[in-house]
Structure formats: structure tokens, C-alpha cells
């Protein structure tokens, strides 16, 4: 067993876990945050994407111990039912989901790509390329791509308005 201390959605937490515990197990099973999903469990599908120190990673392919000392943000950390993150709102507005299983990972990857490219700087080809590691079996991706583009453009507008 090992003590893993990290910041999870802004709160400092310390968990006693086995060294082999995956980050996604700490998040879901130890902390009860089930917004992060496990789809393939082989780092292909991206349903488990969370942010570790501001970068999108697959939580099924990282040990909890590797994240010790890091700032971890899950879907629950970016918005709430009353105050959706612009990306969450755009997925609802543009019907960017059907069954919803891949959605947590899609949203966390979308936020990451907007952060890296800068709000307003995403075109359709870039979004599709960036979604390489997120698989959806329902939508055919069109509305996911539309939602991310809309959120990116809206966030650029918000940033401008704030200046």
C-alpha cells in the first residue's frame, strides 16, 4: 500500500491505495467520482480522459501513484448541473451525444484541445485530428465536432468580452 496525495477537483485528498492502483480506480472506486468512465481499458477509447496538471491523459493507463503531487481534474471539476462548462453546454445544444458513455472523455479532450490551440483557433480538420484517441460508437462524430467548434468559438467571444 502507498499513500497518494493529490489535488482532485481543487480539493487536497490523500488515499491509501495499492501501488498497482490505476488513477481511474482511485477516482471512481476510492473517491466515488463516476463521471470518468472506463470503456476499453486499453487506452484506445478515451472515455477515461482526465486532466493531470492541465494535460489530458488516459486515467486507465496511469497509476494513481504517478499522479501523486499532481493537480487532477475530472468531468465533475469543470462544471456543475447548474453551471455547465461552455463545452458541456455546447454538447447539449448541438446534441453531441447519444448514449453518453464516451461524453466525459470527449468533453475533457475538447477542453484540453481548446486550451492548447487557444479558443477560436479550432477548425473542423484539427478537431477531428485531435479526437484521434476518443471513440464514439453512436454519433458518427459530426455533432461532437460541431459542439467543440461552437464551444471554442464561444469561449473566444467570452475571452474578448472579458478584455
Amino acid at each position: 500500500m502507498t499513500k497518494v496525495s493529490l489535488v482532485l477537483n481543487g480539493k487536497s485528498v490523500t488515499c491509501d491505495v495499492e501501488d498497482r492502483t490505476l488513477l481511474v480506480s482511485l477516482i471512481r472506486d476510492v473517491r466515488g467520482l463516476t463521471g470518468t468512465h472506463v470503456g476499453c481499458d486499453t487506452s484506445q477509447c478515451g472515455a477515461c480522459v482526465v486532466h493531470v496538471d492541465g494535460k489530458a491523459v488516459k486515467a486507465c493507463t496511469m497509476l494513481a501513484a504517478q499522479a501523486a503531487g499532481s493537480d487532477v481534474v475530472t468531468l465533475e471539476g469543470i462544471g456543475s448541473a447548474d453551471a455547465l462548462h461552455p463545452v458541456q453546454a455546447a454538447f447539449r445544444e448541438h446534441h453531441g451525444l447519444q448514449c453518453g458513455f464516451c461524453t466525459p472523455g470527449m468533453i475533457m479532450s475538447a477542453v484540453d484541445m481548446i486550451n492548447r490551440h487557444g479558443a477560436g483557433n479550432l477548425d473542423e480538420a484539427t478537431i477531428r485530428d485531435e479526437l484521434e484517441g476518443n471513440i464514439c460508437r453512436c454519433t458518427g462524430y459530426h455533432n461532437i465536432v460541431k459542439a467543440i467548434k461552437a464551444a471554442s468559438d464561444q469561449m473566444a467571444g467570452m475571452a474578448e468580452a472579458a478584455e
Binding site: 491523459v57 501513484a65 484540453d112 492548447r116
Partner: protein, 266 residues
């Protein structure tokens, strides 16, 4: 995953020490290959020594006519580095094409080359660019480092610390990714060095991992154009064959990717 003990090393010396004292220790980089392998119970190291927080193994710096990349530097960092993009754009492009964004945030250059997957991208870059691998014990040329499929010259307790790439006149990498895994079915890195010599290195296709194509190198040294390599075929007898493609298919892909790479290098 079987039980294991995780250690986080603060220095290269400490990491060597930890791994040599362990019953069956393994160095952990980003873990993007090792952890899936452990989850499938195809590997069960008693100890994992995480080297990604070691300062001297992180970062990219420019030397005299070269770039040195710390072994724990991630693919995303190499792909986004202004230094790499301006001095060795073909290498930044290769790093940006590995796996997917989340994998690139974790996977490291040291981990990739120490694993030496026959379909990994970095081995082609190291061999084509004539890179030097600096380990905790010595310096090795890329060709001496890569021994065979999933095999390198590293001793059990030896750790890759950094990789030094000489700057080249021009070069490019072209790969045909497997549509599902995105690993290279064939990836070809062509490099025209500053002394005029040419190196062509192939990954993904060969039975024994990365290899050079002498015929293409000679042809390109005389005539740097896609046409120069168009009629040069590699021996299908030494190509991989599996459900994704026959040996003959891969042999043909090598020529096609070589043409694309030369064309992209300009």
C-alpha cells in the same frame, strides 16, 4: 495487473540503484506501453522506478550543431517545442504523430526507444538522423543501441538519460498508420545530412525492427527526388506479415512512404 512496488526516483543514480536492487525492476517512463502490458499480465515487474521527475532527464537544449532531448521528455513536448520545430521540424512532426494527444502527454522518447517496438516511430528518427543515445553508463550510436525486435543494448540496470540529434540539411518522416492501432505499418525517415550523405531508416515493416535501406541512400545521395527511390524495393523476405498486411504489401509500402518522405522534405 499483478502487485508491484512503485518508486519515484529523484536522480539517475538513485534510479539505477533502485532498479538494480529490485528482484525484477523496470524503469517506468510515461507507462503508455508498460502499463497496458502489465494490465494484460504479459509483464509483472516486482518494482517500477518512475524516472519522469528527474530534472536532468527532462527538457530540450541546443548544442553545437545538435539538439539534446532528455529521455523523460514527452512526445507532446517535443512536438510543441519551438526549438525542435525550428531546428529539426521533421522530428517535431514525427513526435506529433505518435498515438493520440493523451498518449503524447504521457509517453516519453526514452521509454519509446528503450522498448524498441518494431512499429514505433522514434527508432526510425534516431537511425536516420544518426543520433547518439546517452545512458547512465555510456554513449551509443543509434544503430548500436537498437539490437532487434523489443531488444536494445541496454543492461538491466542501465537507463537512457538523453538523446542527441545532429542537425541536418533536410529530412522528413512519412508513415502509413494501421487504421486501428495507428502504429506504423511502414514508416520511413529520410535525412540529408550536412556533409551531403543520406540516411533512410524504416520502422514498422521489418522483422527485426528499424533498418536502413542502402540502395535508397545511394540513389538519394546522387539525386534527391521521389523518382530516385521509386524503383527501389526492399526484400519482402525480411518484412513482417500479419493480419494487417502481407510481407509483399509492407515491402511496397516502404517504397511508397520513402517517396512521400522525400517529397515532403522538399
Amino acid at each position: 495487473m499483478y502487485e508491484t512496488t512503485y518508486h519515484r526516483a529523484g536522480s539517475v543514480g538513485e534510479a539505477s540503484d533502485l532498479v538494480s536492487k529490485a528482484e525484477d525492476g523496470k524503469i517506468l517512463g510515461g507507462g503508455q506501453t508498460l502499463l497496458p502490458t502489465m494490465k494484460q499480465r504479459l509483464a509483472s515487474p516486482s518494482d517500477l522506478v518512475d524516472v519522469t521527475k528527474i530534472a536532468e532527464m527532462n527538457g530540450i537544449c541546443e548544442g553545437d550543431g545538435s539538439l539534446s532531448i532528455g529521455a523523460a521528455t514527452t512526445h507532446a513536448e517535443v512536438a510543441a517545442s519551438d526549438l525542435v520545430k525550428s531546428k529539426l521540424p521533421s522530428l517535431a512532426g514525427l513526435a506529433g504523430g505518435i498515438g493520440d494527444p493523451a498518449v503524447r502527454h504521457m509517453g516519453t522518447i526514452g521509454g519509446s526507444i528503450a522498448n524498441n517496438d518494431p512499429a514505433a516511430d522514434y527508432p526510425a528518427a534516431l537511425v536516420a538522423l544518426g543520433a547518439t543515445v546517452v545512458t547512465s553508463k555510456r554513449s551509443l550510436s543509434a544503430e548500436d543501441f537498437f539490437v532487434g525486435m523489443f531488444d536494445t543494448a541496454l543492461d538491466e540496470d542501465e537507463i537512457v538519460v538523453s538523446v542527441t540529434f545532429p542537425l541536418i540539411e533536410k529530412g522528413a518522416y512519412a508513415k502509413y498508420p494501421n487504421p486501428a492501432s495507428r502504429y506504423a505499418m511502414a514508416g520511413v525517415y529520410v535525412a540529408k545530412h550536412q556533409d551531403g550523405s543520406v540516411r533512410v531508416a524504416v520502422t514498422g515493416a521489418g522483422h527485426y525492427g528499424v533498418f536502413r535501406v542502402d540502395g535508397m541512400e545511394a540513389a538519394l545521395a546522387g539525386n534527391w527526388s521521389p523518382d530516385a527511390v521509386a524503383s527501389i524495393k526492399v526484400d519482402a523476405g525480411s518484412m513482417l506479415h500479419d493480419i494487417h498486411g502481407s510481407a509483399a504489401y509492407r515491402a511496397n509500402l516502404v517504397t511508397v512512404m520513402a517517396k512521400r518522405a522525400v517529397s515532403a522534405a522538399g
